[in-house]
Symmetry: C2
Subunit: 309 residues, 2 copies
């Protein structure tokens, strides 16, 4: 079944130590869909201005994305410009123009309202509520957020947690949200407010999933060249939700697998500007990287716990 | 066979958000030995002042450590005082008194000179050279270092790399040493100067081992309470080398296993002040934690790479 994805559809101008890209495809919904559609169809809801190169999203349609929920409004598209520092772990925002995104009111097309899997990209929690109000009976709602909303829209965000099964958030943000430096405790704090699952994204350090009584850790893939980290978190989310929706059920086994596929897709996203690397990614490329993830962490011991009594 | 370990034997005064400890056992050689002797005997070389509570090291002797290489000199022991911040990832050094450690000249006892496994704790690279000059034919030399030596003793440190098989270093330090932000590239830079293996310690984010054509990643154990992170890196090194020496050979399988046992010992070290948690650690405790590490990263996929052709 398709995943309903609501988020930003943007244009990015990016500078890294390796080069520049000007007004290329960006936004949480675009990265998410580019990654998720490797595994599973997506129904995309967002807004763009009349300047948006909508044809460039054609690769998503070819992979089974339904773009009929992208509204084209008079005005300019959401635009973000950023420059990454030498180590690629920090960046400066050079410009943010909300454009038509400032007045975004997600309208979920009739045919999308029976979605079972929903991804709420990082937008105003009030809009994330609006989306859920329009979906009949979602089974797995994952949402992302950021410091801006944690500070400025805390109450609606906390209410949203009660409607969400999976919170995907980065390490600094979950610490800020819970006012607790320990990630395990911060995640327990979140879980007490609703989500069964908290996925903490740690950038180059990987990601960690906290369930009720188990934890799963996936490393960041050790890339020789992190070309452009923009969208890595949304690509992670896309790989994660794409795998989960393809499997059709949420179990410890499918969640673990989703984490690894998420990290794999996040790593591919860093290899080129924008969604370039995701556009022609084949399932064998992904399977090979997943196998590398296995080799990265697999080990054998000589004694079992029982032999140590 | 025993591991020869040369490093600091110190007294630490520590403040964390959870409490204070005054003049407790510390120093790289003490943490290393407390961890390594869970698996394998250690021969310890260091210097203490006449104020050192040497009897408190008795637990090491009971676990097979040979302390006859600890010289007791007139004067004060190496003393370090530090205060950890709220998040336990950063700390302020409040005081450092080198005491008798300032004039430390490692003298390796005759009976220690045939060591096959050697750990050079974080001391002046000139002294690390002195140690190796006294050891007949070491097979596996692992060494640690820090920013102070990278900046102030760069040439002897680079020469030392040519005599070392395993460099254990934290992420900031290897980036500084190689002047390269990418960990994979920084490790390749180190390997070109000697060590076959670079183990990069990333604190709460775990550790990553770079070999010639493979990489292994072990996460940090997600502790609910990081009580005192002092010595976690040296305890990691002790668990790593203790496992490696116990297996008696250096292969991809034994190195992977060593990484996991290292991370397990590092996590135990954080649970109490000083070496308290390591003192009565049983092999079953360790085996259970190692099993938790396996569950933390193990996953199944439905398709093999070949099925994706």
């Amino acid at each position: 079944m398709s995943i309903l994805c609501v988020g930003s559809v943007a244009l990015d101008s990016i500078e890294t130590p390796f080069g520049k890209a000007d007004r290329v495809l960006g936004g949480s919904a675009v990265y998410f869909s580019a990654a998720a559609t490797v595994f599973n169809p997506v129904q995309l809801v967002g807004v763009v201005g009349d300047d948006y190169p909508i044809d460039d999203l054609g690769f998503l349609s070819e992979r089974g994305a339904d773009l009929s929920g992208i509204e084209q409004a008079a005005g300019e598209s959401f635009f973000w410009a950023g420059r990454y520092h030498y180590d690629l772990n920090t960046r400066d925002t050079l410009d943010t123009q909300l454009g038509v995104f400032a007045d975004f009111e997600p309208k979920i097309p009739e045919g999308f309202r029976d979605a079972r899997f929903v991804f709420l990209g990082n937008i105003d929690p009030a809009l994330q509520h609006d989306v859920l109000d329009q979906v009949a009976s979602p089974e797995v709602v994952a949402c992302d957020t950021m410091n801006f909303w944690i500070e400025g829209a805390r109450e609606p965000l906390l209410e949203l947690l009660g409607r969400v099964q999976i919170l995907m958030i980065n390490d600094e943000e979950v610490r800020q949200l819970a006012d607790e430096p320990n990630l395990l405790k911060a995640s327990r704090w979140v879980q007490a407010r609703g989500p069964d699952i908290v996925v903490v994204k740690k950038g180059e350090h990987g990601a960690i999933l906290f369930a009720d009584d188990w934890i799963f850790y996936v490393p960041g893939y050790p890339l020789e060249e992190v070309f452009d980290p923009t969208g890595a978190g949304d690509s992670f989310a896309g790989g994660f939700m794409g795998q989960l929706a393809r499997s059709g059920e949420v179990t410890p086994a499918t969640l673990r697998r989703a984490m690894v596929y998420g990290s794999a897709l996040g790593s591919f996203a860093c290899e080129r500007f924008s969604v370039e690397r995701l556009v022609d990614l084949g399932s064998r490329d992904v399977a090979e990287r997943v196998e590398e993830f296995r080799r990265l962490t697999a080990f054998e011991t000589h004694l079992t716990v029982e032999q140590h009594v």
